[in-house]
């Protein structure tokens, strides 16, 4: 069934405003999505009615807050198809999730000479933590190359795999180009040599079906704010046996069983990895965001965004001076491009003058841009509330800019 975009847009208060004298067109969804009213209401309600520290208080408010907090954990479990909610760890975001795995799993199970495989498509947050680990323990980082369309060269990946491979950390959908990677195939191949796999779901979790049991990934990380939820909150899924074998990440309250000055014992998962008071309001308000995605239907959302991408390509492909960047067959709703003889920053600024919000620059993927021989791109990324009419305004504005230097 097609999406009733007006019905959806009415749930997002922020969208109804003018920017620089034009109706806002928000095409920076790969950076962060806007929040439906139910999410905003949940934050408000928490502070107005339930505010209390969780898991410890012997009073009604603490019970209520704890209950709502844990309900979100259960919703996430269902959302990604995990076996049990103890396998869901709250983090501050995708970046922290990857750092957590690098610091705990990495420092315990990856030794000198072992190999970690990532890909050319990775965001800096799935590069730097592994480089830091390699510097620390002498492990070696290997990188899967891409072709000119921005797709992984899987034959090369298979050549990189060996018994030395301890971890493959791979993005499911590229933030800069939109390429969807065949993670299932990658996971199976990695498992065949005994390696574990971390899937960076920052860009995929809101668009694609992510079923951890079906994928059989060992870790999955993503951020709530890219799934119509609050900022400052992320999710790390890990298989129970791995999470149990890993040492804690941060030390402090919540994560202990017993503390004496001689020795501290740690509590069970997931709390072992959740030291300190977490982002309670954000966690609680993430549940209605997940409910919003589930009730709209992920397949429906993906189809809608894909239609917007298709329409954008249709309108812009023959415009002189437009250079699409990333032309993979399988893509999420991301249109990355350049205009001949123009810097992406200038294009972004001109679009902003028309009320159109896009991202410009290297999108935290400098090695990828270097591989493509580019300094940056302009990126339009779509979400469920974007419309064909917005795409038309965007395409018209881009065409006008392209004509400046490409007559």
């Amino acid at each position: 069934m097609p999406i009733d975009v007006n019905f959806i847009r009415n749930q997002f208060p922020l969208l109804h405003q003018e920017v620089n004298g034009n109706p806002l067109i928000y095409f920076d969804n790969a950076a962060t999505t806007q929040k439906p009213k139910v999410v905003l209401d949940a934050i408000q309600r928490y502070y107005e009615i339930d505010n209390s520290n969780i898991h410890r208080g012997a009073h009604t408010l603490a019970d209520r807050a704890t209950q709502h907090y844990e309900e979100t954990r259960e919703s996430i479990r269902a959302f990604i198809g995990a076996r049990e909610s103890a396998e869901i760890i709250f983090t501050r975001g995708t970046t922290e999730g990857i750092n957590l795995v690098a610091k705990t799993f990495g420092s315990t199970f990856i030794q000198k000479g072992d190999e970690i495989i990532i890909s050319t498509l990775e965001h800096h947050s799935n590069i730097v933590p592994w480089q830091m680990l390699c510097e620390q323990n002498g492990a070696v980082l290997r990188v899967i190359p891409i072709n000119d369309a921005g797709e992984l060269v899987l034959e090369e990946f298979e050549k990189l795999l060996s018994p030395k491979t301890k971890l493959v950390s791979i993005v499911q959908a590229s933030n800069a180009l939109g390429t969807i990677n065949p993670v299932k195939r990658i996971i199976d191949a990695a498992h065949a040599v005994g390696a574990k796999v971390l899937v960076d779901g920052a860009q995929s979790a809101s668009h694609l079906e992510v079923d951890v049991l079906n994928l059989d990934c060992d870790f999955l990380v993503f951020s709530a704010h890219k799934l119509y939820g609050p900022t400052g909150l992320g999710v790390l899924y890990g298989k129970r046996e791995l999470l149990e074998a890993m040492p804690p990440f941060l030390g402090g309250g919540e994560m202990i069983q017993e503390v004496t000055f001689e020795k501290t014992t740690y509590t069970n998962i997931p709390f072992k990895f959740e030291a300190g008071t977490p982002s309670i309001a954000e966690v609680i308000a993430f549940k209605p965001a997940l409910d919003f995605i589930t009730s709209t239907g992920k397949a429906t959302i993906h189809r809608h965004e894909h239609d917007l991408l298709k329409y954008t390509v249709e309108l812009l492909q023959d415009v002189k001076g437009i250079i699409p960047v990333g032309t993979a067959t399988e893509k999420i709703g991301v249109f990355s491009f350049n205009i001949q003889s123009m810097h992406p920053f200038d294009v972004g600024q001109l679009l902003d003058a028309k009320g159109i919000a896009v991202r410009t620059g290297h999108h935290c993927t400098q090695p990828l841009l270097k591989r493509l021989g580019l300094e940056g791109t302009v990126r339009a990324s779509f979400a469920v509330y974007n419309t064909q009419a917005e795409v038309e305004v965007f395409a018209e504005a881009v065409t006008k800019i392209a004509k400046l230097k490409n007559k």
Binding site: M342, H343, F345, D346, Q349, A353, G361, E375, L404
Partner: protein, 143 residues
């Protein structure tokens, strides 16, 4: 010869004709970049770079007969346009005039709002560097 204040007033008057339309203002700025003299390739080196977040600026200053001569370039057209305005205001003036100048035309032409914080910071860095050159030449003159 007109003063730095005169030239700034001139620029403000030119931009007033464009009105409040952001797009036209940016288009105009980009066009102004085309007026910049070609930057000498021998000086396109790291030591002449003022690095912003997304745009790069090369700035070169020489002293001839007590006046400062600037040449500059950027990889982005909007920045180039802004540089051309800065050069129009400060070029071929004595270090003393440059150091005493109250550079206020950028917010007055409405560019403060358009640029956002990233580019505004870059512009401030650019103005500071131009003044730093002037200070160096003044110190040399007084030595």
């Amino acid at each position: 010869m007109s003063t730095i204040t005169d030239i700034q007033n001139e620029i403000v008057a030119e931009f007033e004709i464009l009105g409040d339309d952001r797009e036209s203002t940016i288009f105009y700025i980009m066009e102004l970049g085309g007026n910049l003299k070609p930057y000498p390739e021998d000086f396109r080196k790291d030591e002449y770079i003022i690095k912003g977040c997304q745009s790069t600026v090369w700035l070169l200053a020489e002293e001839k007969e007590g006046k400062v001569h600037y040449q500059a370039d950027s990889n982005t057209d909007i920045t180039k346009g802004l540089i051309s305005l800065l050069i129009r205001v400060l070029n071929q003036r004595s270090p003393k005039e440059i150091l005493e100048a109250d550079l206020n035309f950028i917010p007055r032409i409405g560019m403060g709002n358009i640029l956002g914080s990233q580019r505004s910071n870059g512009l401030v860095a650019m103005m500071n560097q131009m003044k730093r050159y002037a200070l160096a030449f003044q110190t040399k003159q007084n030595a």
